[in-house]
C-alpha cells in the first residue's frame, strides 16, 4: 500500500485530487498547509507528496525545501500542482526540490499516470 499526501488549502481541490488518484492500492492523506503536512508526515511512510504552491502558514516552495532538508522525507518524490503557468514558477518549484510540476486543473489521466510512475506501480 502506497501513501500519497495531498497538500492544498482548498478543500475542493483536495477532494478533486483525491477522487482523481484514489485506487485500492493507494492510501491518501490530506493536509491543509505545509506545517500540517510536515506534522502529519512524522512517523508515517509517505510515498509521494502532491503540493499546492499558495497556502497559508507555509507555502509549497518552503514545504518542498523542508522535505528535501529532512533526512526522513528527502527521498519522497514531490509533484507540485499550481495554478501558475509561468515558466519562472516551474523553475522555482524545481529549485526548491519538486520533482515534477503540473498546472491546475490537472487532467485525470495525466495526473494518475504521473502518480503511478512516481510510485513505481506496475
Amino acid at each position: 500500500m502506497k501513501t500519497v499526501m495531498i497538500v492544498d488549502d482548498a478543500n475542493t481541490v483536495r477532494i478533486y485530487h483525491r477522487a482523481l488518484i484514489s485506487s485500492p492500492s493507494r492510501q491518501v492523506e490530506e493536509a491543509e498547509n505545509g506545517v500540517e503536512a510536515l506534522e502529519k508526515a512524522v512517523g508515517r511512510n509517505i510515498d509521494l507528496f502532491m503540493v499546492d504552491v499558495n497556502m497559508p502558514k507555509m507555502d509549497g516552495y518552503r514545504l518542498c525545501q523542508e522535505i528535501r532538508r529532512s533526512d526522513l522525507l528527502n527521498q519522497v518524490p514531490i509533484i507540485m500542482i499550481s495554478t501558475e503557468a509561468a515558466s519562472s514558477d516551474a523553475t522555482r518549484a524545481y529549485e526548491c526540490g519538486a520533482n515534477f510540476y503540473m498546472i491546475k486543473p490537472v487532467e485525470g489521466n495525466q495526473l494518475n499516470e504521473v502518480v503511478s510512475l512516481m510510485l513505481g506501480e506496475v
Binding site: N11, Q75, A85, N99, Y101, I103, P105, L117
Partner: protein
Amino acid sequence: MNEMLDVFIGESREGLETASQQLLALQSEGFSQERIDTIFRDLHTIKGSSGLFDIVPLTRLAHAAEDLLDSIRAGQTPFTDEVGDLLLETLDQISDWFDDLEVGNEDVNAWETTSFGLSHRVRAYIQDETQQTVEPTDAPDDIAALEPPLEAAPALSPELLQSLAWMPVASVFNGLRMASGKNLQLLAYTPDQDGFFRGEDPVNVVLATPGLVDFTLTPKQEDTNPDDVFLCHLDIQAVAANDAAGMAAHMAYYEGQYTSSELHYWQLVCHYRDTINRLLEQDHFQALKDAINEGDGPQVRSLSDFALTTSNPQSDEFAICQWLLSISDDAALLARLQASLTPSVMAAPEAPRQTDISENSSSQAAEETGSRVLTEQARAVLKTQIAHLERISGTEQEAMLLPSVTLIIRNILLKTDNRVPSDSNCAGDWIEVCKDALNATRSVEEVLNEAVDAVQVAEASANTAPSVETGPSSLANKIPDAEAAKAGERQVTKTLKVNQEKIDYLMDLIGELTVAKNSLPYLARQAEDGDGRKLSKQIKSHFSIVNRLTEELQSAVLQIRMVPVSHVFQRYPRLVRDLSRKLNKKIELVMQGEDTEFDKNLIESLSEPLIHLLRNSIDHGIEAPEFRAMQGKPETGTIHLIATPKDDNVIIEIRDDGKGIDPENIKMLAYQKGIINETQLDSIEDNEALQLIFAPGFSTMETVSDLSGRGVGMDAVKTMVHHAGGTIEMESTVGVGTTFKLILPQTMSVNRVMMFEVNEQMFGVSMDSVVETVKVKASEVQLVKNHPVLVLREKLVPLHCLREKLGFIPKTHANDEEQSILVVSTGNGEFGLIIDKFHEGIDVIQKPLEGVMAGFSHLSGTALLGDGRVLLIINAQELVACR
C-alpha cells in the same frame, strides 16, 4: 461532482467573506501588507478551484483580481479607495454567481459579458511593465491571445471542442491562418422555423459572415414539425476569423437565434497539437521540425514554403504548412508552438483529446507485451528528472534531491519494462532501455549515463552507511516554529467545527449522569425495606440531581449549535457603507455584543429581516447631512446594532437617531389603505398607531424606493421574526429616532410553555408571552363597546373566550363563579384568555405542525407530554386575530 461544487461554493464563500472584511479594514485602517496577502490568497484559491468546474467567466474575473492584488502586493500598483471599491464589486459579482450556481442556474455563457467587462476594468488598474507592452496593441483580442500566460486563456470546454468535430483539419488551420493570431468565433445559428416567410435566407447569411472559415448544416435536433417542407429544419454551425463585436454586428437581425462563442487561438492550436506532431514526425518534415524547435523563423518560412509546392492543396499538410508559413515571422508564436509541441512539463492543461483512448489502449497493449514503449507522460517525467540531474550535479543540492530523483527514474524504468532487474548492478541494461525508450538524442544519452551512475552511487552509499538515524531531530526542530505560525493564524469558525470545550463539558455531564444512575438500584433496595416517607424523600432529592443534570445536558447540547451573532453582523458594515454612499448620507454603524451566542439556524433566518430593518433605518430613518445640521444634530447619523442576551432570549436592537416615525402619518395612511376604520382612527393611541406599520399591506413610502422597497414590507419582517419564535417591538419618537427590538429565543428547539385546560383538553402557550394568571368572578367582567374587558390594576384588558375561539361550546358562568384568565402579552398589547383550568409550566421540544395542520396559523406547534399525549401549543396573537 455536484457535491464538490457545494464544497467549492461553501469554501469560496468563506474566502469571499474574509476577503471583503479585509478590504473594508484596508479602506478604513489603511494599507497593510498582511491583509493584502490574505485577500490575495483567498482569491487565488477561488481562482484555482474554479478551474475544476469550467466556470470560465468566474475564473477569468478571479484571475484578473488576483493579478491586480499581486501587483498591489509587489508595490507596483497603489491601493486606493477606488481600487478597493472595484475589488469589492468583483467579490460581490463572484458571490452573485455563486447564488446562481446554487439555485442550479448554470448558464455560464450568460455571464461572459459581465465577466469581460469587469475583468477589463480590474486589469486597467494594474500598473506594471506588462501594461506597457499591452498598450500599443489596439484590439482587445490581441491582448487575450498573446499577453496573459497560456492558462489565463479561457479553457475551451470539451463540449465546444466536441462540437468542432465536423470541421476538417485543413479548415481549422486555414482559419488559424486567417485569424493571424487573433481568436476565432464559433457561431451556432438556429434559424427560426418560419424564417422563410419573413424572407430570411439562413445559408446566405452564414456565407456572408465576414472572415468565414467553414460551416456545416445539420438537421435541427428538436424538430417539432419535421414534415413541413415550408419550415426551416436546420442547425448551422460556422467558424469565422472575426471578433465577437463583428459577429454581433453581422448577426444583428437574428438576435436570439444564434450564440457565438470564442475559440481561443492558442487553445485551438493545442487541441490540434497531435495533428501537427504527426505531420512533423514524418521523415520529410524532419527539417521543418528541427527549424521549429530551434525557433528559426526564416528557416521555417522557406521549408514550409517548399512543402507547399509539393503538397496537394486540399490536404491537411498543405493547410498546416500554410499556417506555419503565416506565423513564421512571429518569434513569440513560434516559441510558443515549440513549447507546446515538445511534450514538456509546461504543457498547458487541455481538454481530453479524442486520440486519448487509442493512446491509452496502445500503451496498455505495450505494457502487456512487455515492449519498451514509454508513454508521453513517462517521457516528460523522465526528462524532467534528467534536467534535475543536469542542474544539481556538483552542487550542494545534489545530496538533497538525488534520492528522490533516482527513485523516480528507477520506478519509471521498472514500470515500462518489467524485464529490468530491480538492482542497480545491471546499469548497462538500464541505459539500453532508456535509449530505446526515450529515442534519445546524444546529449540525453550522456545525461542518462550520469543518472545511472548517480543511482549506483546512491545505492552504494546507502549500502555502506546503513541506518544514519539522525532523521527525527531535523524534523522535530521544525515543529515548534510550525506551532508558532499556527498561533498567529486568524480565527475563522467553520461551519461544522465545534469548540472542543463544549464537547468536553458534555463528556463531564455524561460522567455525572452515569454516577447518578448508579444510585437507582440503591433506591430500589430501600423500597424493598419499605419506609415509604423516607424513600419518597430520597427519591425527591435524587430527582433534583437528575433534573439538574438533564437540564445542563440539554443546554450543553444546544450550546453546540450556538455561534456568535457576529456571523451575521459582520456583513452589515459593508451594507451600511454602500447604502449610505449611494444616498449621500453619513452614517456610522456601531455594533455591540457581537459575541452573543445564538442558535445557528436562527441566526441565518434572521439575516434577511435584519438587513431589511437596517435598510429602512438608512433609507427612511437617517436624514441627509444638511438636514441634520439644520436640526442641530451631528451630521453623521448613528445606527446602533446591539445584541444582548437576556434570560433565555437574545434581544437584538436596531436604534437610529434619525427623524423617527410620526404616528399621525401612520394613522392617516392606515386609514387610507383601509387597514383601520374611522372609529379606530379616532380612538387609536399613538403607540398603537405605530404598530400599524407591521400590518399587512402597509408601506409608508408612497413610491417604492430602490433600497427598502423591494416588495418586502414590515409585515414580512414580522412574519420572519415570528417564524423564528420571536417578537418584534418598535418605539419611535419624532425627531429623535426609532428603535426596533427583536426579542428572540436563544434557541429554537426548547420552549417553556404554560399548560392549561379548555373543554377538558390540554393546550399550551409559550411562557414568554404569559404575563400573569388571574381568577375573577364573572360579574367583574365588563362590557366596553360590546366587548368583554377586565379592569386589572386600572388597566383595561380585553378578554377573549378561548372556548369560543377554538370552536367549543361556550360555557355560561354564574355571576359569582370564578373564571380563570390567562393574561398574555403580544406585539399588539396585553389581553386575557378565558380558559377552564390552569396547569403547570413545562419544558417541551416544540415541533412545527405538519400536513393538514400546517395551515393553522393559530397553532404554533405541538409537543409530546411525558405521558404520551400531544400538546397543542397555541399562538395567542394569531388566535385572537382570527374571527
